[in-house]
Subunit: 332 residues, 2 copies
């Protein structure tokens, strides 16, 4: 069973894969396989090549048959498993938890050659409907404290399969970066009795130099202290700490906003690899006045130097005001 | 002038390059240049192609002439500059500091084709002598709070030039990851009145399953909650919070320990790209009983998926006990 281990100094949790552990020679082999894949397990007709589906939106066909628009299946090589006891134990001076959780794949479209930026915006919205459905289901399991939704697009961004898909990881711990955001925004609330993300929305709409696009329900900005060139944040205008509180009209609107944002990145940066990640509050906690869910989109343009990993310190070669200007003006 | 910006939520500082800002088309162009470089500005005879040297250890020759063994020069495209006022100011709701600091390159050997793992261990030690000399000089500038020493080895790890070199960045702020280590180790000290790194040394020597090598002055381990496969930490056995407190015999010993560690990585993982980074206490602070300087070495074996960036949450496919076993046994 995989396990979670806690760094005793910083308190960061890490998943250690103990079962299908990679040996030195596996790292080279992997690269070759991902380059030469012909067969696609996510294409219609190959439904039996994935574990049985957990959820599907369909126009026709039965479970695990073609006819779906969006399909959610367990990851075939999960980082965590739903089965098993959640046990916390010491290991010498260290702490660990059994690797209980969920790891699912959201197949975004039956069409292999599409991307979120070429798909119809209603289909992009379906991804968030499916995510919301999965969060509402998974949060019933009180062992699960946090649900991450993320996408790796392109090989350089970590995607091992080309067919458009996102991933969901449900964890028995809260990731460090989320903890930092919760602490930082709680500090601001204590001081000002305002949500810091609501303050950022207000400031950015007023200032306008970092605005990429604005819709009824969302503001897309290049954040003031962007870590990466052309990093974008999608902020909902209405305050909710949890993504699953999003209203149906806002979900529909988000489909178009994400599609347009990715289309702008595609045009400005020539189809870059990218990642996005939904930042939301821990699922077992009540609504918070100080935290505000949002999406961070990071195009993979530079090789990240190790010192940025090691230090948590970033050098961003493109001022966010310039990034916003290019993206704002490169109209979709 | 470059500037430092603070993320208002997490408090993380970022360098924003405002002068030589990269436009969208620069990202593609850059990749091509780094692949086809023929001329090497770091090779002997080309000393005038770098800014004038700050420090050199030589067998002969005058300043900025051949005859050096190690040579330290300002980075030609610095992320920060020593000139200018250190000004702190608000920008709407945000905070920024002018980009005052230093960015230097430590050229590790005159021989273009060498690496730290093929060089004589005395020459590897020279890198740390030079780093110590530079820290002792730079810390006189009280605007500088932190000095990062790091190395990017190989293109995939962020190196833009092949000739062996490390880099030093002196900052007017303390990087987030270091702050976290300082806070975490201070917490342990309050609770136990012991240094957590000294505890880790004790635990790892006793347990032995994660030990990669041990010398008179250092222990090299695969850390318990390693974020990356084959991540290695080099821990000095003697407690010092600041790397510049290292004794001359320990510097000599470190040359051999780093060389052997890199040689083990080279043999086990077939010459992987890697990064290392020296973690040390902020230069203007007095010696701390709770913090312990050390070096983290990270081979670049997997593409880091964006969700790891976004969440601070890592999945490591190789248990550190197995990584240590391969590295321990693959004798240099």
């Amino acid at each position: 069973m995989p396990e979670l281990r806690k760094d005793p100094i910083t308190g960061r949790w890490v998943i250690i894969a103990t079962e299908r552990a990679k040996r030195p020679s596996d790292f080279a082999r992997e690269a070759v396989v991902s380059r030469n894949g012909h067969f696609c397990p996510f294409c219609p007709g190959n439904e039996l090549k994935t574990p049985p589906e957990i959820l599907a939106y369909r126009n026709g066909g039965g479970a695990n048959q073609p006819g779906w628009q969006v399909r959610v299946v367990p990851n075939k090589f999960p980082a965590l498993r739903v089965e098993g006891e959640l046990s916390r134990e010491g290991a010498g001076m260290y702490d660990r938890i059994s690797g209980v959780g969920a790891h699912e794949v959201l197949i975004e479209t039956p069409e292999h050659g599409q991307t979120l930026s070429t798909m119809d915006e209603k289909r992009v919205a379906d991804l968030f409907w499916a995510f919301r459905d999965r969060v509402l289901d998974l949060k019933k399991d009180v062992r699960l404290r946090y649900i991450l939704l993320f996408k790796n697009h392109g090989e350089a961004a970590g995607a091992s399969l080309e067919h458009p898909h996102s991933q969901l990881i449900a964890l028995p711990v809260v990731p460090k970066r989320v903890q930092e955001e919760l602490e930082g925004s709680r500090r601001h609330w204590k001081h000002k009795e305002r949500c810091i993300y609501c303050d950022i929305l207000h400031e950015e709409i007023h200032d306008h130099s970092r605005v990429i696009l604005e819709s009824d329900h969302f503001l897309v900005i290049a954040p003031y202290a962007a870590r990466f060139p052309f990093e974008c944040w999608i902020l909902p205008k209405l305050h909710h700490s949890h993504v699953e509180s999003i209203s149906p009209p806002a979900i529909q609107n988000l489909g178009g906003v994400l599609q347009k944002t990715l289309r702008k990145l595609d045009r400005t940066l020539e189809l870059p690899p990218y990642n996005f990640i939904v930042h939301t509050a821990p699922v077992q906690e009540p609504a918070m006045p100080y935290y505000h869910w949002h999406i961070e989109v990071i195009p993979k343009l530079t090789r990240v130097a190790g010192f940025e990993w090691g230090s948590g310190f970033h050098i961003n070669p493109t001022p966010p005001e310039e990034a916003a200007m290019y993206l704002r003006e490169g109209t979709p």
